[in-house]
Symmetry: C2
Subunit: 117 residues, 2 copies
DNA sequence: ACAATATTCTACCAAGTGGTTGAATATATG
DNA sequence: CATATATTCAACCACTTGGTAGAATATTGT
């Protein structure tokens, strides 16, 4: 799988590495909320929240619908699916290579043959 | 699931958010390598590589076995398993809530009933 | 003992992050 | 119109990050 397809995921992993932003996604999963409503739920300045939202937007995890002076935020699950898929793909790939290596190095210590006392 | 159990994963997600470090994990999946050998494979100073390795170590993804003047690095897949598990868990959680909401809001536009012309 | 090797540690730099405050902008309401 | 509301933008701060270079440390080989 080409590096180019992977590039977009950097932002997603970076975004979910922050517990505040994960908490925001959980709030967003309950439906659209305004930036201000989101800000009320976090022990942080309005602007602090606004910045986190921008990070989530840049990662493609959240979209914004401006209605008058209100900005409504909506969770976009697609990049999460991608991120989960890739992580699992790589996890399996890395682990398989590692397991294969171990099988090569450890010369098959059979379980059904007892060591002579 | 308590927040405390989640805390360790921040480092893992942050670590894999960097493509250089993901590439390093792929190299490490091929078996133990010295820091220097790893450094030879990346277009970066030895010290740069050493720093990335420390990030991977702090995230628990890599362990170090010092043998004389050589430091051998080994991939530890356990935190990756955890990270993949949690990401999938949350992905499903967020998406399920979102889907439930959509089912609530969109009042079941049946497919098998045609609109009158 | 000496020189080469493998590595970290310290210091530095530019850029990014997480957070703040204050000003600016756009919109709604009296 | 004037004012309150919802939000961004700009500046700033302390800290982290990704990278560099140079000095220090530990080990090996001659």
């Amino acid at each position: 799988m080409p590096r180019s397809q992977q590039a977009g995921l950097d932002g997603v992993y970076a975004a979910i590495a922050d517990p505040t932003r994960r908490a925001m996604l959980t709030v967003l999963a309950g439906g659209e909320v305004k930036v201000g409503t989101l800000a009320d739920r976090f022990p942080m300045s309005f602007n602090g929240v606004s910045k986190h939202v921008k990070v989530l937007e840049r990662a493609g995890l959240v979209t914004r619908r401006v209605h008058g002076r209100e900005h409504w935020l909506r969770l976009k699950p697609a990049p999460l699916r991608e991120a989960a898929r890739w992580l699992e793909y790589y996890r399996a790939f890395w682990e398989t290579r590692l397991d294969a290596l171990e099988r090569l190095l450890v010369p098959r210590a059979r379980h059904d043959r007892r060591v002579r006392p």
